[in-house]
């Protein structure tokens, strides 16, 4: 069988195909079909020749096999220093073999690569900081995912995720109507407590255009309400676009570069349509990386920048606290040990380490903030990055990977973990479920709402 009904080389393009794939519970038939999915060797080799250029080739060629990357990798450490988890080993075993064999590889080999690319590396790029030759194995793994995706060797959930973006331009089936309704619903729901609260849709020329993660309208609409409340308290002139509000990109996790371009083009079109002064993204690391750090390149923007200044939520919070748009009531500052999860995607991969510390200085009573070891740019992945959180096939490996973060948190002695990233938040929730260490975890928004001073004129009338 060259290609299966579910497992094939064609990305999901229609709602019908998406629903059909979703009906294959846990991808049972999908993975069965994958066992006989044929590799299009010619296409694989052509793709490698066109896209594996001097940077990747040099990285492969000059890797000194020195092993300095080994214990930079939390997956290597947490899996009892398994030599197969040494970053260089993982990459060489996939990409070098594909190149040496000029794409003439077997189905079993591709399945093995899929297992490695999605369950043994979260593309966190921590190893890149430890390699004397400057080899970024996170980038290479991401590149390999692209090759695997083009051949149909991609985990079931990632194929669905990429399909969601292609069909709905959102990682979940949230349509424009669903989204706009959720905005209206959340504004109404909170209007009484917050007089004058609005979630303005498609307002042109606002100071801020806000974008979020589809998980929010789908599963935690209160997060959207909380964003609205904080903008309201801060007196911001803001809006959300009816189209192009979704900032995440499972296409990036899947290696679906064509889909990644479609997704980010949609957000940039909203910026160009509504012409906001700047854009603020929600508390999510991969959404930020997808739309702000990598997105401009998928969209073909030579400046490397989105069409308007585009910042992460933590940057807005720090600025609002610094300028006094948001004021913390000193009596409500956090007075228990609290630690902070640094998201790889906006800390290591966008240099936002200090700004979150600035926020902590406002929110936490001196002496109560404890750093994880290591932290900031050297922090470990939450354990569920790069799509790892969402793939059922690798649940066991993911749960094992969570132990790194569990042990880091336990070592701080803190019971509260602040995590301004959806993916990290999910991983920390799951680690508590799995290991029951008695911790709580939170985004910034609900904590801030409980702590900020409410200006007189915004307080509900008795």
């Amino acid at each position: 069988m060259p290609e299966g009904k579910f497992c094939n080389k064609t990305p999901i393009q229609t709602e019908e195909a998406l629903l059909s794939l979703l009906s294959d519970t846990r991808g049972t038939q999908y993975y069965e079909e994958m066992k006989s999915l044929e590799v299009n060797k010619e296409d694989l080799w052509n793709r490698i020749q066109k896209t594996c250029k001097s940077r990747m080739r040099t990285w492969l060629d000059i890797c000194a096999h020195c092993g300095l990357c080994a214990d930079s990798c939390f997956l290597y450490l947490v899996n009892d220093r398994d030599p197969e988890q040494v970053p260089s080993r993982k990459i060489q075993s996939m990409l070098r073999t594909m190149i040496e064999k000029k794409g003439d590889v077997t189905t079993e080999f591709m399945i093995e690569c899929m297992n490695t690319a999605w369950s043994k590396c979260t593309c966190c790029s921590r190893c890149a900081q430890f390699c004397p030759h400057g080899i970024d194995m996170g980038q290479m793994n991401s590149y390999i995912r692209g090759l695997l995706f083009s051949q149909g060797f991609v985990p079931w959930e990632m194929k669905i995720g990429s399909g969601m973006h292609r069909v709905y331009r959102a990682q979940m089936d949230v349509t424009t109507e669903d989204w706009v309704e959720t905005c209206e619903w959340m504004a109404e729901e909170n209007e009484e407590e917050w007089p004058g609260l609005e979630i303005p849709v498609d307002k042109e020329g606002a100071d801020i255009m806000y974008t979020c993660n589809a998980r929010e309208p789908k599963h935690y609409p209160e997060d959207l309400a909380e964003a609205a409340i904080l903008f309201h308290i801060a007196g911001e002139n803001w809006t959300v676009p009816s189209e192009g509000w979704e900032q995440t990109s499972l296409t990036m996790f899947a290696g679906d570069w064509e889909g990644a371009k479609m997704q980010v083009d949609n957000v940039y079109a909203a910026i160009e349509r509504l012409k906001p002064k700047r854009v603020i993204g929600t508390e999510c690391g991969h959404a930020h990386r997808a739309t702000v750090v990598e997105g401009p390149y998928w969209a073909g923007r030579a400046s490397g920048k989105p069409p308007a200044p585009y910042i992460h939520y933590v940057q807005w919070v720090a600025e609002a606290l610094r300028t006094g748009k948001l004021k913390i009531d000193p009596s409500k500052r956090i007075k228990e040990l609290v630690t902070l999860q640094d998201s790889c995607n906006y800390v290591r991969n966008h240099g936002l380490a200090e700004i979150t510390r600035e926020i902590m200085s406002y929110m936490v009573e001196p002496g109560y903030f404890v750093e994880m070891t290591p932290c900031k740019e050297y922090n470990y992945c939450c354990g569920g990055g790069g799509g790892f959180n969402g793939i059922g096939r690798y649940r066991q490996q993911r749960n094992k990977a969570l132990q790194t973060k569990r042990d880091q948190i336990l070592a701080t002695g803190a019971k509260l973990v602040i995590s301004p990233c959806h993916n990290c938040w999910d991983a920390i929730r799951d680690l508590e479920e799995e290991y029951e260490i008695g911790i709580r975890w939170s985004f910034l928004k609900p904590l801030l709402i409980g702590m900020v001073e409410i200006p007189e004129h915004l307080q509900p009338k008795e």
């Binding site: 250029k53 940077r55 900081q129």
Partner: protein
Amino acid sequence: MYEFLTGPMLWVTFTVFILGCIYRVVWYFRGLDWKLDRVAYKADMGLGLKWAWKSIYHWLLPFGTFSWRRKPGMMSLFFIFHVGIVFVPLFLEAHTVIAREHLGINWPAMPAGLADALTVAMLAAGVMLILRRILLAEVRVLTTANDYLMLAIAMAPFITGILCRLHVPGYEGWLLAHLVSGHVMLLAIPFTKLSHMVLFFCSRAQLGMDFGIKRGGERGRGLVW
């Protein structure tokens, strides 16, 4: 034979070595692609170059990076090995004499005692690097026969060189072996992993630009990638 290896063959070897290295560097930079690499090289050249330099400089400095500080043992082996391999061939008195007589170029030599010490230290570090490959599971899993071959090619001119210097029996033979292994090493550089002699700078520059331009460099943190 001696005359040939220190005469016409020297020209051939240097030509292949230099042109080969230039080719690798040019090929590297021409193959960079802002879209595929996802780095705005042109748009942010100034910021990029600043971080490229920073990245190279700090990795050439002992204890200059977090990674080096974390592994002082490996760092020492790395620096001792590379200081020996770069400076001894360039500044050994016997070599400067050949350069003057055969190539007509004049440059200063290092004291013989220092050259001896650096050679012995470099060879000792090389032996330790080999032991490290054998003993550490995380290095052993990466190691191929090629890695040992590269170490052998790099160390052979130094082993034969020190034997000549010590005047062990069979001087003529050792001298010839020294010349041949020296040529082999120089000729191997552009065609093997030893090309990192130039490509190290290229790859470090690229990653420095990558992190500098888009992954936080603009925020000016004192970190080096």
